[in-house]
């Protein structure tokens, strides 16, 4: 049995394993060191880039775009999801459109958004928000639709109005599912932003950093930017997980 005191360090097992395989692959030259630099070289490049270098600036730009995209998506998708979820007929009538666009790769939408918004932050943020909206909307609507019947019935029996049932019961009941949607939404927004920074006119951001380093065969810098993107995704997921635990502590079923 693992001691309770060691449990918080469990996630490190995977990290150490990954670093061990990576070090072994480079030390034994399984992969050409020009194409896959050692973890030390990569982290030196990461540190140099973050400590006043261009990587820090690119990181901040990606954080800003992802946060904006998620914020817009949440502001639009949560109320819309509650409305759609409160009427199953309404949801079913729009289900095809939601599922259709939810299954469409956001990168395929780049040309359309480029034509609508031009280049610049508007396109990247709007296309990422578009992708995230559908994921959040879908989760919120299902959260509302699956609100526990006993609680709904209890509220109705006690004479609560339709509006009160919607806000005091359905909204709170949907919160756990809403957070699932937000966590998926922020991850998707980050992925779309990074891809957009790589392929649609960009002068900064982690995607641009990966693309430029790849073109210049500056592999330590490329892996440093990939690591920064991964770390950002992990941190954002953790942030929403902590927020979920604080807001939905009553959510146990």
């Amino acid at each position: 049995m693992i001691s309770k005191r060691l449990e918080p360090f469990l996630p490190m097992v995977g990290v150490l394993g990954l670093l061990a395989i990576w070090s072994l692959a480079t030390a034994s030259k399984w992969v050409d060191p020009v194409l896959l630099p050692s973890p030390i070289t990569t982290f030196q490049s990461f540190w140099k880039g973050m400590d006043g270098g261009p990587l820090g600036f690119d990181f901040v730009k990606t954080v800003y775009r992802t946060a904006m995209a998620t914020l817009f998506a949440a502001v639009i998708a949560i109320p819309l999801g509650i409305v759609l979820g409160s009427s199953e007929r309404l949801y079913r009538s729009l289900e095809f459109v939601i599922d259709f666009f939810r299954s469409t790769p956001a990168s395929a939408m780049f040309p359309l958004f480029l034509v609508l918004f031009g280049v610049g932050d508007e396109t990247k943020i709007s296309v990422a928000a578009f992708g995230a909206i559908l994921v959040i909307l879908f989760n919120v609507a299902y959260g509302v639709m699956n609100a526990r019947k006993t609680r709904l019935l209890a509220a109705k029996v006690m004479g609560a109005s339709r509006l009160r049932v919607l806000f005091d019961v359905m909204l709170l009941e949907s919160l756990p599912q809403t957070f699932v949607g937000l966590r998926n939404g922020v991850s998707l927004a980050l992925v779309i932003i990074v891809v957009a920074e790589m392929f649609i006119g960009s002068q900064d951001g982690l995607g641009h950093s990966v693309f430029e380093a790849q073109q210049l065969f500056d592999m330590p810098r490329m892996y440093a930017a990939i690591f920064a993107a991964g770390a950002l995704g992990y941190a954002l997921n953790l942030l929403f997980l902590v927020a979920e635990r604080s807001f939905v502590h009553w959510g146990g079923k």
């Binding site: 020009v34 280049v119 210049l216 065969f217």
Partner: protein
Amino acid sequence: MKRRHVLSLIAAGGLLLAGAASPALAQDKVKVGVFPVSSSLPYFVAVGKGYFKEANIEPETIRLMGGPANVAALMTNQIDVSAVLVTLEGFNANIKKPGVAMYIAMHSQTAVYKMEQFVVRTELVDRVKSLKDFKGLKLMSAPGPAPLNMAKGILARIGLKDGEYSIDQLDMGQHVNAMKAGTFDGGFTLEPGATIMEKMGVAKTLEAGVISKYILGDEKADAFAAGCAFTTDFIEKRPDVAKRFAQAWAKAVDFIKTNPAEARKYLAKNTMTPDDLVDSIPMLGYTMVKDFTPAQLGYLQKYSDFGTEVGVVPEKIDVKKFIKSF
């Protein structure tokens, strides 16, 4: 069918199979990374006209999009030849791993052999007469640090500073659409995008052959922006095969020069060039390294030095170290 007919058919089939498996007929296999663009034309011609077959070579086409994929494949010896590799990208790779891309042939770009060019949206043609008129406009560039810095470098040479115009790099697939939608006022684009824009009436070429004129200082100077590269491993371990491959390539280059109209047809089925544009896509100045004049070698060195100046080639190199004559 009678029994003896069946037996004779089986016997004939057996003989055919035996013939195909005979070592006397085995050809030397060469793995070739092919980026399906007009620069790879000599490869398509050599395959189509059977020049490789004549040289007893069986090329295996591996479609690889862009420089990084080709360089990674060259470095790991997954391919022996890159049918087309951007020169500055190849030189950069050679700094990281010397001899990974040895150029045997290069493709010149000039005002005649059009590839890179500045275009302007049709609505602005009356206002924008020269590159200087780009001041205050919104421009796009082919993606990657090499084209972007090239565009900025050219504009700097005519006196336009970064900030006096805006420039965003954009995936080549989006260039025509972005110009049509009016997202940009003009930009630094490549073929076949420029020809497509012109045909659609979306944009017009303001100036082509800009690397020659502004970077190399002579309108007629050959800007050797891309070429065919071998790995050192291939050259050293299979020198005879490498030589025959280069000879087949040279034969294709001769064919393109003497029969450009016929050679162009090979673009239609091998590249992303629309069929109706095949006859209007400009040709490049395909040249074997063995035929380089001292002046051409000088242009290549100057071009590489400019790459160093704008940070695409990290250090000054002697280009002679990365070319190979057959």
